[in-house]
């Protein structure tokens, strides 16, 4: 009896130890969900919610209640789909890089390129933008080199242009992430049995054949999971990259959903409308997560949640 009591006391005690942390989680992750009610009120920032008018689904309807608004939201969706679509379309690039890296047998060289190509992943988008600004400005490295080579006469305004915005954003994203993403695949490759490669080689398989029949298949599970995660996050590009790169020239093409939600709230004070769009986005994202997770269970036998 006594032992049982002591055990019980201990189990509650252990719970008490983590209570402060649970409170933090509730405050910063769950309590914000309550903020969704702002979508149903006519929220004017300085006043408390009790002073605002309940408006039901007005804000949800207002997303599509006039042709200009419809064309606005369609533009934002188009940009979101374009950026995410490009990422999805080229999602094999890091895997291809990993295969190439795996073929570099000289250890020191491999370590050097690995270190150099993963570095951009660890700098902020502000720094990426700063680098882009310095390298691509009218007197920056790229324009100077092109002009020295006589390929162009006048500097190209890379950042102040509305051309190929989606593709250029994808390039910067790839510059930042591809090296690191390749390492993820390398981690998966280190699990391949070296004996299998050796056996294939003795059987007379060429390097291409080894890549095609051993390396690639063993990377597929990782690739599949990453594609599924990509799909689950299709609407969430994040806003930081697009926020720092946005300017009056490229605004039409760079405003993705996450940035749009920020811009209408912080730029125009449209808090309620912004929250309404957030809610719709969250619902669609949740559905996507469930679908991709189910798909993963179907194909791999296990989900990723």
């Amino acid at each position: 009896m006594k032992v049982k009591d002591r055990k019980k006391a201990r189990s509650y005690m252990e719970f008490l130890y983590i209570v402060p942390f649970l409170i933090l989680v509730l405050l910063f992750s769950y309590y914000p969900l309550y903020g969704w009610v702002y979508a149903f009120f006519d929220y004017k920032p300085p006043f408390p919610l009790s002073a605002d008018r309940f408006v039901g689904f007005k804000w949800f309807k207002s997303i599509v209640d006039s042709p200009t608004k419809i064309s606005q939201i369609l533009k934002v969706l188009r940009n979101t789909f374009a950026m995410s679509g490009l990422s999805l379309l080229f999602s094999w690039v890091p895997m291809a890089l990993a295969i190439l890296l795996n073929e570099i047998k000289q250890k020191t060289y491999r370590r050097i390129v690995q270190t150099v190509t993963t570095l951009p992943n660890f700098i902020s988008w502000v720094l990426v933008y700063s680098i882009a600004f310095n390298v691509l400005s009218s007197t920056g490295a790229v324009n100077s080199i092109l002009m020295n080579l006589g390929l162009i006469d006048t500097p190209i305004m890379f950042l102040q242009s509305s051309k190929h915005v989606w593709f250029r954003m994808w390039l910067w994203l790839t510059w930042k992430n591809a090296g690191w993403a390749a390492i993820m695949y390398i981690a998966a490759l280190s699990g391949i049995d070296e004996e299998m490669n050796e056996a294939a080689r003795i059987d007379g398989a060429s390097r291409i054949q080894i890549i095609w029949h051993i390396t690639l298949p063993s990377l597929m599970p990782t690739y599949f999971v990453l594609v599924m995660l990509n799909l689950a996050n299709f609407l969430s590009n994040g806003m930081e990259q697009y926020y720092v790169f946005q300017n009056s020239f490229n605004k039409e093409y760079i405003q993705v959903l996450d940035l749009y939600v920020y811009n209408i709230a912080m730029g125009n004070g449209g808090y309620s409308l912004s929250v309404a769009i957030s809610i719709l986005k969250s619902i669609v994202s949740l559905v996507l997560l469930c679908v991709t997770n189910a798909l993963s269970k179907l194909v791999r036998g296990e989900g990723f949640i």
Binding site: F21, V25, F28, L100, S124, N134, N143, S144, I145, W175
Partner: protein, 307 residues
């Protein structure tokens, strides 16, 4: 006859071999160059004569070496304060995040805890949803964490991903270690402090680096929460400098307007300020990163096993 056939095959194979090797080296060398050159370009420009660098004449090596940019940069208003804020949030934030990840990672393995699984799920679930930035912003305002240094710290203390990493690591430690301590009468906290903490240090190093890099790089929270310039971080200040560097150069240049060539070479330009601040912001990452790369890789390997 047979001999020459195998020879032919070998020739073909080695030819193929060579092509793959060449392609791998060429592509990766180009990729590495594209990743490396921008950093190098900005670095050599920050040390070169400013009039040359503004005209885009410094491309491959330093021209007209001088260190005045790094001396003048102290005069840029707000920069030193921003450095202090960035360092403070990195040090305090990382310490609290790592301590929490270690403690919760251990506590969530305690099968004796009341409703352990429920609490664990409650924490991990937060990886898969978020309310959106505006509800989060309103929450932070209601909690009095806008224009408040602790707004950088509190929301980041409990980081579910790091907790999962730590928990996975703790689970890999032989159970006998804990059991032995328990028989000796050690309590929950004592086991954590004296047995677990020393053993799980490798994963804590990984978490510390991830967390420190995140804190150092953080930009969005300043953008959302802070209007008080005293709380601006280095990232935020750098962003402001890029968008308004032209107005800054007047503040930094001394009042004497001599236009001798020597003065021109060291007078601050919008370009020189931008490049020098960029070097200052990127340096901690560049220096810390190569040493800790193996921790990073270890971290994702554990994550990969888990995922």
């Amino acid at each position: 006859m047979i001999n020459s056939k195998t020879k032919k095959k070998k020739m073909k194979v080695s030819m193929e071999d060579r092509i793959i090797t060449i392609v791998s080296y060429v592509i990766y060398t180009l990729f590495a160059f594209v990743c490396f050159y921008p950093f190098y370009y900005i670095f050599i420009n920050s040390l070169s004569a400013n009039d040359l660098s503004e005209k885009g004449k410094v491309l491959f090596w330093i021209k007209g070496l001088h260190f005045k940019n790094y001396i003048d940069i102290v005069k840029v208003p707000g920069l030193f304060n921003a450095l202090k804020i960035s360092l403070a949030r990195t040090v305090i934030g990382t310490t609290l995040t790592v301590a929490t990840a270690a403690f919760l990672g251990y506590m969530f393995t305690r099968e004796t805890m009341w409703k352990r699984k429920l609490w664990y799920r409650l924490v991990v679930a937060t990886m898969y949803f978020n309310a959106g930035i505006i509800p989060w912003y309103i929450t932070m305002r209601n909690l009095g964490l806008t224009n408040n240094f602790w707004g950088y710290i509190f929301p980041n203390i409990v980081a579910p991903f790091y907790i999962v990493l730590c928990k996975t690591y703790v689970e890999s430690v032989p159970k006998e270690l804990q059991q032995a301590a328990e028989i000796d009468g050690a309590g929950t906290l004592r086991i954590f402090w004296q047995i677990m903490l020393p053993v799980i240090q490798p994963i804590l190093a990984t978490v510390a680096i991830f967390s420190a890099v995140n804190q150092w790089n953080s930009f969005q929270d300043t953008l959302l929460l802070v209007t008080d310039p005293k709380l601006h971080t280095l990232q935020f200040v750098l962003y402001q400098y890029i968008t308004q560097a032209t107005s800054l150069k007047a503040l930094v240049n001394s009042t004497s307007t001599s236009s001798s060539i020597a003065a021109l070479a060291t007078a601050q330009t919008a370009t020189s300020i931008r490049m020098t601040v960029t070097v200052v912001v990127v340096t901690p990452i560049v220096f810390v990163y190569p040493f800790f790369q193996k921790f990073f890789i270890k971290g994702i390997m554990i994550g990969a096993v888990k995922g």
